[in-house]
């Protein structure tokens, strides 16, 4: 339902990599919120569905000086010539001008996976299996989000269900805009380290806008020019170096 | 929006063109069926599929032209080349042309499909099978002649002969209305009253052309009769026997007839 929200926003995130301990709470909260099914036994790190996915990177130093950092990667909500939206043959991907959120419509999706090839962040996931929950566990599904069928692509949409709910609430109270913090995605709420800050990047007063401006912030693959709305922050030079731009790699292929 | 219009516009334009093309050919086909152009079109469509050796121009036999393939589907009536060459010819005199042991009377005109046409005094035209054609279809299983009053046209089907599993259609040498039907015994098959009263024979062979033509036809016949590897042999030292089929029991008769009677 479209609530009369007049004030447009440009939602984004600032993720503090120095706070993230890779616990994965964001991933679990995301799956719970969005009715993402648990993996089949056959699933691998490359066939599972993880809208929010935490990567572990290493400073490359050998024992005992090696250290790790964790990088949560979700749909980066590209704001400029959004690669996936541009390529979808049947408008199953939609960029909402009122929120800047890139939304995937599974019931429109053909499953051609062209958008997955187009996404530089590998943030799109394909339903390789029919969705399945252990017997009885369907009771625990979130009523605000419809489970997806086999053979379609899905991805993070900043917990669209929550946005609708918040708007409905605001509309019920006769407000034409959302209060800051009235709408936050599940991962933001769940992060025990408070590493994720969410809000309107166009609202200069918002914390996320402030963090996005600060010197420690960067965006992954900024030079692709897709204007992602997920900002990452770190004071550790090696982390920034390893996360921001493609560096020389020397790993070998593995299936 | 604009891009939508352009894109979908192009798409529908293409669809329209394609379906229009289909529709048009359907329509034309239907029309052809209605106005009985089937026979003509059948020949038009068949002619290009004939082997080149069957499509050589008649003036190549007489040496008037170097090797030339006919581009008028054997209808010399519209052929300028033919008109030019025919001007110099004298009308056929009586007598007959003995060639390859076969007797071809010169009082008649011969079609490349081995039917002959003889204008009669009463203005009708008699049509029959020439000696070579006749020897190929001796004692046929069936002969299907058009009903009297029926209409036949040049290069269309005149009648059908079924023999030894081969279904042979004899090409008509003349345009006209069938006034009488004969039989092998009578020596002729059809009498027709030519359209427009007068009989046009420009597309038919006559006189001096016949000799070289038959010689060439015999070559083709033996090539078709004898398997490719062994040399063509004559059953009786030159003159074809009355019943060639009997003499070559293991020949593919369907192929032989198709070759000689110009079937695709």
């Amino acid at each position: 339902m479209a609530a009369p929200i007049t004030k447009p926003a440009r939602y984004g995130m600032a993720i503090d990599l120095d706070r993230c301990t890779g616990c994965g709470a964001c991933m679990i909260a995301c799956a719970v919120e969005n009715n993402v099914p648990p993996a089949r036994p056959e699933a691998t790190p490359r066939t599972g569905i993880t809208w929010m996915r935490v990567y572990q990177i290493s400073n490359g130093a050998p024992f005992p000086d090696s250290r790790a950092a964790f990088i949560p990667v979700l749909c980066q909500q590209c704001g400029n010539e959004t690669p996936c939206a541009a390529v979808c043959p049947q408008e199953a991907v939609e960029v909402d001008p009122a929120t800047g959120i890139v939304d995937q419509m599974p019931q429109r999706c053909l499953g051609c996976r062209y958008c997955m090839a187009a996404c530089p962040y590998h943030a799109r996931y394909f339903n390789w299996w029919d969705p399945q929950w252990p017997t009885g566990m369907e009771k625990t599904l979130n009523p605000d989000v419809a489970p997806r069928m086999r053979g379609v692509v899905e991805k993070c949409n900043f917990c669209h269900g929550r946005l609708h709910a918040a708007r409905a609430r605001a509309a019920a109270e006769g407000r034409s805009e959302l209060r800051p913090g009235e709408y936050v995605p599940a991962c933001v709420e769940a992060c025990p380290a408070g590493a994720i800050v969410f809000g309107d990047l166009d609202d200069p007063a918002s914390e996320v806008a402030r963090l996005a401006r600060d010197g420690h912030s960067f965006r992954i693959l900024e030079r692709l020019g897709t204007e992602p709305k997920i900002y990452y922050r770190t004071a550790r030079p090696w982390v920034r170096q390893a996360a921001a731009e493609p560096a020389r790699r020397q790993e070998s292929a593995h299936a | 929006m604009l891009s939508h219009i352009i894109f979908l516009g192009l798409f529908y334009a293409v669809l329209t063109v394609v379906s229009a093309t289909l529709a048009l050919s359907f329509f034309r086909a239907a029309r052809d069926m209605r106005i009985r152009r089937v026979e003509a079109i059948a020949w038009q469509a068949t002619f290009p599929d004939l082997p080149a050796r069957e499509r050589v121009c008649r003036h190549q036999f007489t040496g008037e032209l170097p090797n030339r393939i006919c581009d008028k589907a054997f209808d010399c009536r519209q052929c300028p080349t033919h008109a030019a060459l025919i001007a110099t010819r004298q009308p056929p005199e009586a007598g007959s042309s003995e060639s390859a042991g076969l007797d071809f009377p010169l009082d008649r005109f011969y079609h490349r499909g081995h039917a002959w046409a003889r204008p009669e005094a009463d203005g009708t035209v008699t049509i029959g099978l020439d000696p070579l054609g006749a020897r190929l279809v001796t004692n046929p299983d069936a002969v299907v002649l058009p009903a009297t009053g029926g209409h036949i046209r040049v290069n269309g089907t005149a009648w059908h002969v079924h023999t030894r599993g081969a279904d042979v259609r004899i090409l008509s040498p003349a345009d006209g209305k069938v006034v009488a039907t004969g039989s092998a015994q009578k020596g002729w098959y059809l009498k027709v009253r030519p359209d427009g009263g007068r009989f046009d024979s420009r597309h038919l062979l006559s006189g001096a052309e016949i000799g070289p033509w038959i010689t060439r036809e015999m070559e083709r016949l033996y090539a078709a009769l004898a398997p490719a590897d062994e040399a063509p042999t004559m059953a009786d030292g030159g003159v074809p026997v009355e019943d060639i089929a009997a003499a070559y029991p293991d020949a593919d008769w369907d192929a032989v007839c198709s070759e000689i009677f110009l079937q695709a």
């Binding site: 616990c23 709470a25 679990i28 993402v36 699933a43 290493s58 790790a68 369907e138 979130n142 | -």
Partner: protein, 584 residues
């Protein structure tokens, strides 16, 4: 005029054209798309009134406050309670409402593997207890001393000639509060400080205030994020602690110890946590006991015998409570009387020690029954909260405490015990009550009666004691240190534990363990590439790990961060022993 083939063709052609122009094709297209959206097997989430309900997490000693979003009575998502001292939930807590749907659940009581009526189980176990000889003992393995339930166990055991109330927990952390908010450095002897230690929310909220020195051989996630990593093999922690103590006195012979000491000097106050003897030694040297930023005394501490200190072959009847059932069986087996001993597992799960139990008393899981959350680990003051059930308790399930009370022929029920506990708190009249719904703290005196307090607690609340006046405290005499395994030519490597998948957790944990590669996959053996090459392994190959007592089939994974000469095994309870690995 018969029906010719031409007519047939005309007819089919005509009908085809007709159909194409009719609405039928559109209808079919529409239906196919509908079908593709409601594929058989796509569940339809239940609808209903959306409500907020509150409870407290009992999955670990952190006792985090929980806000549950429910459709009707069914919780569909869990979240932390703003303002609660332990902050946000961990991964297990976030998906706690899925536990009820895990495999391996015990749905009814079993005797010798067969379903058995409660009465039969009771009589059987009572008989076993009665038959207990003078040198033999009856033991309850308490997974979490300090609860009202623990009190029930104590009382029951006290009534027996030879009852032992024991636990497998290292009571060091449980015995003190930790003033995390004011400490500036933590020396962790293998404690998973950033990986579920104390209350994750609380630790992470203070992470920026303290330097973390991780003394641990394994490249745990905590080690990988520590400010200083000191790889020290288990069994030698005390020695290292001694070295640090000497270094604090100016002896610089051990460079690593010196480095640690340096950090401790420049970051005061500091504390040591983890492996008890080592941490205890260092804490006394640092004077961490009973001062701000150190280890604080608190009320309501209740000790229990460490199961390791119970003489071997002495236990005739062993009752194992949920949570302890995941202990390595050989550890418990050693303690059992050689003949006709009886093992009772009070647990919701059929795996772990339950597989060796003569009786399994099926217990409800988290959220299925009213439970309690005592003082959270490391909490500077005593605390208490209730964990009201959000799900209906399935029939045939009995909470462990309830069962022990039945065994003790106690007429009261477990909720009565909890009620008494709440009443006692109200009677003492100390401290404040933090209510989850409105995140307000009220002095307990302002709560009219024990009944009101009970109601408040059932609605979701946390009682916090007053801090004790500072007074010197001392390290408790704690467990002996584990034996340091010695490598042999046959077993040149050391097997140590890497983090491994939890035994019972939401199926969604697959996101962490198999779908994202964020955690070590189960049955992985992680080795330093050098060690790997020395033993003829290649990255990702199948391999066999052998120790003197056991064998595991594993997948070898190379990681240059792992200590050379050790094998990190990601599986439940690998031996802390010498071993070797070879390709298969």
């Amino acid at each position: 005029m018969g029906f010719t083939r031409r007519d047939l063709l005309k007819f089919t052609g005509g009908s085809a054209a007709g159909l194409a122009l009719s609405p039928v094709p559109w209808g079919l297209l529409h239906d196919t798309s509908l079908l593709s959206e409601n594929w058989p097997g796509i569940p339809h989430p239940p609808r209903g009134e959306i409500r907020k309900r509150y409870t407290t997490c009992t999955l670990c000693p952190a006792g985090c406050g929980v806000r549950a979003r429910c459709v009707g009575d069914q919780p569909v998502s869990l979240a932390g309670v703003a303002g609660h001292p332990s902050g946000a939930l961990c991964t297990a807590g976030l998906a706690g409402h899925h536990l009820a749907f895990c495999r391996d659940r015990a749905t009814e009581s079993l005797a010798a593997g067969k379903p058995a009526a409660m009465e039969r189980a009771l009589s059987g176990i009572s008989a076993a207890i009665a038959a207990c000889g003078s040198r033999e003992s009856v033991a309850i393995l308490d997974s979490r001393p300090g609860r009202a339930a623990s009190e029930v166990y104590r009382r029951f055991l006290a009534g027996l000639p030879n009852g032992i109330h024991c636990t497998s927990l290292d009571m060091q952390d449980a015995s003190f509060g930790i003033d995390l908010e004011n400490t500036r450095a933590i020396v962790s002897f293998g404690a998973p400080v950033l990986d579920g230690w104390l209350s994750p929310g609380r630790v992470l909220a203070n992470r920026s205030h303290f330097q973390l020195i991780q003394v641990e051989a394994a490249y745990s996630r905590t080690a990988s994020l520590s400010d200083l990593r000191v790889p020290v093999l288990s069994g030698t922690e005390s020695a290292f602690a001694e070295a640090v103590v000497r270094a604090l006195d100016g002896d610089t012979s051990d460079s690593q110890a010196a480095e640690v000491a340096g950090m401790l000097r420049s970051n005061k106050p500091a504390i040591a946590v983890g492996v008890a003897p080592a941490a205890g030694r260092l804490n006394s040297a640092l004077g961490a006991f009973g001062r701000p930023g150190g280890l604080l005394p608190r009320r309501g501490f209740q000790a229990a015998t460490d199961i390791a200190n119970v003489p071997d072959h002495s236990i005739r009847v062993l009752l194992i409570e949920e949570g302890s059932t995941s202990l390595p069986w050989d550890l418990l087996d050693r303690k059992l009387a050689p003949q006709n001993h009886t093992v009772v597992a009070l647990t919701p799960w059929l795996d772990g020690c339950a597989r060796h139990a003569d009786y399994v008393i099926a217990a409800p899981v988290y959220l299925e029954s009213l439970d309690e959350a005592p003082t959270p680990a490391g909490s500077p003051v005593a605390a208490f909260s209730l964990s009201p059930a959000l799900l209906a308790t399935p029939p045939k399930l009995t909470p462990p405490a309830e069962f022990i009370m039945r065994l003790a022929r106690d007429s009261a029920t477990y909720p009565d015990i909890l009620k008494q506990r709440v009443a006692a708190i109200r009677k003492d009249g100390r401290g404040t009550v933090f209510t989850y719904a409105d995140a307000k703290s009220t002095p307990i005196r302002d709560i009219a009666s024990a009944e009101d307090l009970w109601k408040t607690m059932l609605a979701g609340a946390l009682w916090l004691d007053e801090p004790l006046p500072d007074r010197p405290v001392h390290a408790m005499a704690s467990a002996k240190e584990a034996e340091a395994p010695t490598p042999t030519p046959e077993f040149p490597l050391l097997l140590i534990a890497a983090d491994s998948p939890p035994l019972h957790a939401s199926p969604l944990m697959s996101k962490l363990y198999s779908e994202s590669g964020l955690r070590r996959p189960a049955n992985a053996a992680i080795v330093n590439p050098k060690t790997g090459h020395d033993h003829g392994l290649s990255d990702g190959c199948r391999a066999l790990v052998q120790s003197a007592t056991a064998e595991f089939k594993v997948q070898a994974i190379f990681d240059p961060a792992v200590m050379p000469g050790v094998i990190e095994l990601a599986m439940a309870g690998p031996p802390n022993a010498a071993g070797t690995i070879r390709r298969i």
